[in-house]
Symmetry: C2
Subunit: 237 residues, 2 copies
DNA sequence: ACTCGCCAAATTGCATGCAATCTGCCATGA
DNA sequence: TCATGGCAGATTGCATGCAATTTGGCGAGT
C-alpha cells in the first residue's frame, strides 16, 4: 500500500525522474506478495517469517526480502526484532480498539473526499455488493465483499496519504475481522447489512453528513462487538 | 518513528524473541539519522538522496542505507523511484491540506487517550512552553517548542499505532510548518498562543470535550492559514 | 527434579562486487 | 537553431559470502 501513491512526483533541485513506477522492483514485488500472503491468512499472526524461506520461495536473494520486510514493518503487518527475526504482527485487544477508534474518525473523512466522484454506476455496484453479502454464507467470501464494498466506496477519493492510511488500517485488522465474522449471529449480521444499505442510501441522496454518520456508527458498532469477544485475540495457532 | 512501538511484542507459534529493541541495527540508526537531517531542514524537499553519499557519511555500505530509505519511504519522508533514486518528499498544497484534515480528526482522539495520564507537573511544563513560545522570536526555536508542546501533551497516551501515526503526520508537514511560521503576523501569532493557553486550561479543568474541540480548532485554523499562503509550497530551492 | 552455563547449528546483518538501468552530454542531421 | 540518437559515466538493484548474534539443547552442578 505504502509507496503506491508516492507523496509527490519528485520534482527537485535535480532533474526529476519520470514518474513511471516500473515496479519491476524485486523488493516491491516481494513486499506485495508477502502482504497478500498475510492478508489471505496464509501467514498467521505470530508466525515467524524467515528471510531465507521467503527468498527461496520467490526466487530472490535475502537482500530484497529484507527491504520488503522493512516496508511491511512500516505498514504494521510485520514486527522486526534486530538480530532475531520477523514475525507477523499481532494486535492486543486494546490495540485493535485503538485502530477501530482511528478508523471511526478517519474513514468518514475519506468518504467525504470520495463523494464528489461517486456516480450512479458506483452506487449500483455498491448495492450489488450489499445483496451479495446478504446472500453469502462463506466467511472468506464475506470478507472479500465487505472489503470491496468499503474500499470501493472510497475508491474515487483523489487523496494520497489518507487513502493509504485507511488501507493500512484495514490491513492490520484483517485477521480480527475474519475471526469476528465467524462469531456473527443472524441478528448482528442483519444489522450490518442494514447499515450498509443505509450508507448507500445516504450516498444516493447526496447526504454527506448522514453518510459520514452512518459509517462512523458502523465502525463503532463493530468495535464494540469486538470488545465483547476477546476470544478473537486468542491465537491458539 | 515507525518501529519505535512495535505493533505488539511478538508472541508466536515459535518462541518469542526478547523484546529488547537493541537498535544496534545499522539500518535503523541510519534511518533515524536521515530522518533527523530531513526534519532539521538539512535535506530539503525535492533534494536527491544518493545512497553512496549517505553510506559514506555514516560509515556503512549501501545495503543498510537502502533499508533505511525503505523505512523513510513508508514514513512518507522520502519518495523512491525504481532504478532512479530517492528524493525528499514534497507535498502539494492539496496533499498538505489532506494531512491537516487528518490531523484535525486524529489528534483530538490521541489527546483523549493521553488525558488520564496528564498530571500537574505535565500541565506546568506545558504552561512553561506556552510562555517560552510567546517570548521567542527565532523560528527554529518556535518550531522546536511547538512540537514539544503538542507532542508533549500526547506523551502520556499509552497507544501504539495512533501515537506513531501522529508523529508521522507531524514529520511529513514539518517543512511547511517552518515556512508558514515565517509568515505569521503578530495578530495570528497571538491567536496561536491564546489557543495553546486555552488548551492547557481545558486540560487543567479536566474538560476533555473542550480540550478536543480547542485542539481541532487550532489545527483547523492552521490549515486555513496555510491554504491562504500557497507560496509556502514554492520550493525555489 | 530443577537451574544454570556453555556450545554447535541456525539465522540475521552487512560489505563487496557485478549486472542492469538511468542520466547527461555530444555528435549528427534536418 | 533545434530536435534526435547514441554512447560513456554515474547510479541503482541484487547475489554472494562472511562475521556477528541468537537459538535450543545438552550436560554439569545443586
Amino acid at each position: 500500500m505504502s509507496g503506491a501513491h508516492p507523496i509527490v512526483a519528485p520534482i527537485g533541485a535535480e532533474p526529476a525522474p519520470v514518474s513511471q513506477t516500473r515496479d519491476g522492483n524485486s523488493s516491491s514485488r516481494i513486499a506485495e506478495l508477502i502482504r497478500d500472503a498475510i492478508l489471505r491468512g496464509e501467514y498467521r499472526p505470530g508466525a515467524r517469517i524467515r528471510q531465507e524461506d521467503v527468498a527461496q520461495r520467490f526466487g530472490a536473494s535475502r537482500v530484497p526480502v529484507r527491504e520488503a520486510l522493512r516496508t511491511l514493518e512500516a505498514d504494521g503487518l510485520v514486527t522486526l526484532v534486530a538480530n532475531a527475526g520477523a514475525w507477523v504482527s499481532q494486535l492486543s485487544p486494546a490495540e485493535c480498539d485503538e485502530v477501530y477508534q482511528t478508523r471511526e474518525r478517519v474513514e468518514p473523512l475519506l468518504l467525504r473526499y470520495a463523494m464528489p466522484g461517486i456516480d450512479a454506476a458506483t452506487l449500483d455496484r455498491l448495492d450489488e455488493l450489499v445483496q451479495e453479502m446478504r446472500q453469502t454464507d462463506d466467511v472468506e467470501e464475506f470478507l472479500r465483499l465487505d472489503r470491496q464494498f468499503h474500499l470501493g466506496s472510497y475508491a474515487s477519493a483523489r487523496t494520497t496519504v489518507l487513502g493509504d492510511l485507511v488501507h493500512r488500517l484495514w490491513n492490520t485488522t484483517q485477521h480480527y475481522r475474519r475471526a469476528f465474522t465467524l462469531l456473527l449471529d443472524e441478528h448482528s449480521a442483519r444489522v450490518v447489512h442494514d447499515e450498509h444499505h443505509m450508507l448507500v442510501t445516504a450516498l444516493r441522496d447526496g447526504d454527506g453528513t448522514g453518510a459520514e454518520s452512518v459509517l462512523a456508527g458502523h465502525i463503532r458498532r463493530t468495535r464494540l462487538g469486538l470488545s465483547r469477544h476477546p476470544e478473537v485475540f486468542d491465537l491458539t495457532d
